[in-house]
């Protein structure tokens, strides 16, 4: 393998990894605050891409505005999902909410088949995002540079939001102790809604970026990325936002390198993520960046 080929593989891996990282942030955020694994995250991701698709096709708005509006709209869908599927179960055992999340995921997927149809749609990605940069024989799509930048910007904003703002403080309080936080005058419903909005907004950004990079929309497109980004979040330490980013990159680079160096194992690409998950759970169950979480009694 030439140096150039290796660098190309690195570029490919980083580009895929940053996409995983972007989606994993939303996953980990919702878990970190609410201790809820939102299994419908992948479907929110898919909805984000579809909403952006219809926005570009049916409105005269510029693409960047459509992307922003679609993300906000998807955020609201996430908020609605929380109200319908999770809020009524808030005092139930956690497993009930988990089952509800799985149900919501199936429901959204099948509704999408009904509404959007089973045939794939070509995402009309704007030309400006589809440029190719050639750096000494290594080809990098401009979207592959934009995605990590977007990821890092969102990461910084989110960290600021959680660490420095009042809402962020409320979110952190909620993650520590639900009841005590409400006794301290925190409007739990508002904070949870906000968390879901942000989480779904992030999923939508991921979905749209995914659509630009891989311009094929299908109703089940969120399933595998959803699962993999959940794994990325666990690898990084679920609940830890920086960890999710690191986990995403590990997963993306790992997948590409697996195929690059062991081409005969290409068929096990998806299995790789799961094996990595098992290894992490065996060695460091809290994930790379995870802290020991005291189980609430």
């Amino acid at each position: 393998m030439s140096i150039q080929e290796f660098l190309q593989h690195m570029a490919n891996g980083t580009s895929l990894g940053s996409l995983y990282a972007l989606i994993a942030i939303g996953y980990t955020l919702v878990y970190g605050i609410l201790r809820l694994i939102n299994f419908a995250h992948g479907e929110i991701f898919m909805l984000g891409a579809y909403i952006a698709y219809y926005g570009i096709i049916f409105t005269p708005l510029p693409w960047w505005l459509v992307f922003i509006l679609a993300s906000v709209l998807t955020g609201l869908v996430g908020l609605l999902l929380e109200k319908l599927a999770y809020k009524p179960l808030r005092s139930s055992p956690r497993i009930t909410i988990l089952i509800s999340a799985i149900g919501a995921s199936f429901l959204l997927q099948n509704l999408s088949i009904l509404v959007f149809g089973g045939r794939p749609k070509a995402f009309p990605s704007p030309d400006i995002l589809n440029g190719i940069l050639n750096i000494r024989g290594v080809s990098v799509a401009s979207i592959s540079i934009i995605i990590p930048i977007v990821t890092i910007i969102l990461l910084v904003i989110l960290t600021f939001l959680i660490k420095k703002t009042k809402t962020g403080m409320a979110m952190r309080a909620l993650s520590k102790d639900y009841e005590a936080a409400s006794l301290m005058g925190i409007d739990i419903n508002k904070v949870i809604s906000f968390t879901f909005f942000i989480g779904s907004f992030l999923a939508a950004v991921g979905g749209i970026m995914w659509g630009v990079k891989y311009p094929q929309l299908v109703p089940h497109m969120g399933m595998m990325p959803g699962l993999k980004c959940f794994i990325a979040a666990v690898i990084g330490g679920i609940g830890n936002i920086t960890g999710a980013v690191i986990g995403g990159f590990i997963l993306g680079l790992g997948e590409i390198m697996l195929i690059a160096f062991l081409p005969t194992l290409t068929g096990y690409r998806d299995a790789f993520a799961f094996i990595l998950l098992i290894v992490i759970l065996l060695i460091k169950p809290t994930g790379l960046m995870g802290e020991k979480i005291a189980e609430k009694v």
Binding site: T96, G103, M224, A260
Partner: protein
């Protein structure tokens, strides 16, 4: 309160799961005794959705034209097999056990057809595939037939094209390992390309991906380093279009060759400029009608759908007409009698050509070679077997 909510959520979950199960739609009702039921299992959702839908269009067009046989109404029972092998097997058993169909048409996708192979064989209901091209679909199965050619022929056609027309000496293969069609076609292409070049090392790489993958950059980067003259990459239209797009982004300018599955509008819309110039083999082209039935079919299709017919619609049309023809010749709606009549098919004039079934139940027909030019599928040439 909590319990009732739990109940609601469980109901939602069950509804969600059920709505995912195979849904069947009957196109006409009526009493049982004066109705002959023909089952159709095709992928209407999932990775092969476009191919399945186009096939069903052709089948329904034919059903609209000939809705009666032996003085009885024909009822089509269409089931979505969701591009999934397990669903395909379930769909076939549902059609036979629940709907009591006398014959089955389908499916797009060799893997999906093969998944139903043992079921139709054991239940003794004949099945006629429209476009599954893998030889294993009909091999050792007296109840599976097809109206299309098979991959050893298709693979040879493309290898010949690569060697003779493109002057290629080195080829790389990128296949979908979960897809019997893709793997089979790649194998036949490799065999015949090796014998044409007389060089056992003329296939410089055989790399794989999985159906559903979106990122092929790792495989393509490795292939790029080997500098092949041509890349043969048969697979689903969606994945293939993404793959070719990513190849062009990585600076690979070798020509891409593929098989009949590429013929779908989605291949063009997803691939965009990247798929310009690609070449693939197919069953039929609206630009070169082969029989008088082709002419009427093309006219009927255009009237119904407002556009030119594609290969899959034509094959669906032929499969339905062949089954009706067999029922007439058998003069019976008994599955075994129909099977025998299908097996004896010779010189049946279809939209895609003259169909005679060989000992395996495969049609021996010519192939056409098409190219993408200006965002359209353009006919290049016809290849006789």
């Amino acid at each position: 309160m909590k319990k009732s909510l739990l109940l609601v959520m469980c109901t939602v979950l069950v509804v969600a799961l059920l709505s995912g199960c195979a849904q069947s739609t009957s196109t006409s009702g009526g009493g049982d005794s004066d109705v002959i039921k023909i089952g159709v299992f095709e992928p209407m959702t999932g990775a092969n959705a476009a191919g399945g839908e186009m096939t069903v269009e052709g089948i329904e067009l034919a059903h609209k034209k000939v809705g009666e046989v032996l003085g009885k109404k024909v009822e089509l029972v269409v089931v979505d097999n969701k591009s999934d092998k397990v669903e395909a097997a379930n769909a076939a058993s549902k059609l036979i056990e629940q709907d009591k169909v006398v014959a089955i048409i389908g499916s797009y996708g060799s893997s999906l057809s093969m998944a139903a192979g043992d079921i139709v064989k054991n239940m003794q209901v004949p099945a006629v595939g429209c476009s599954p091209t893998n030889p294993l679909v009909t091999l050792n199965n007296d109840y599976y037939f097809r109206v299309c050619f098979i991959d050893p022929f298709q693979g040879t056609v493309m290898a010949n094209y690569a060697f003779n027309e493109l002057g290629a000496k080195k080829a790389a293969i990128i296949q979908d390992v979960q897809n019997d069609y893709s793997v089979g076609l790649s194998t036949y292409f490799a065999e015949s390309f090796k014998s044409l070049t007389g060089d056992d090392n003329s296939i410089v790489a055989t790399t794989s991906y999985n159906a559903g993958d979106q990122d092929f950059t790792a495989q393509l980067t490795s292939v790029k380093g080997l500098n092949p003259d041509v890349i043969f990459a048969p697979g689903n239209y969606g994945e293939s279009a993404l793959l070719i797009k990513q190849a062009r982004d990585l600076g690979i300018d070798a020509p891409f060759l593929g098989g009949d599955t590429w013929e779908s509008p989605e291949f063009l819309s997803i691939g965009g400029d990247a798929v310009e110039g690609i070449v693939y083999s197919s069953h039929f082209t609206s630009e070169a009608p082969v029989t008088e039935v082709s002419e009427t079919f093309l006219a009927e299709y255009k009237e119904e759908f407002g556009q030119d017919a594609n290969a899959f619609a034509a094959l669906g049309y032929d499969a339905y007409m062949l089954v009706i023809d067999a029922i007439e010749r058998a003069n019976s709606a008994d599955s075994n009698a129909i099977r025998d009549a299908i097996a004896e098919t010779a010189g049946f004039v279809g939209a895609t050509g003259n169909i005679s079934l060989d000992a395996n139940g495969d049609a021996v027909k010519s192939a056409v070679i098409n190219q993408v030019q200006g965002g359209k599928f353009i006919y290049l040439t016809t290849v006789e077997p």
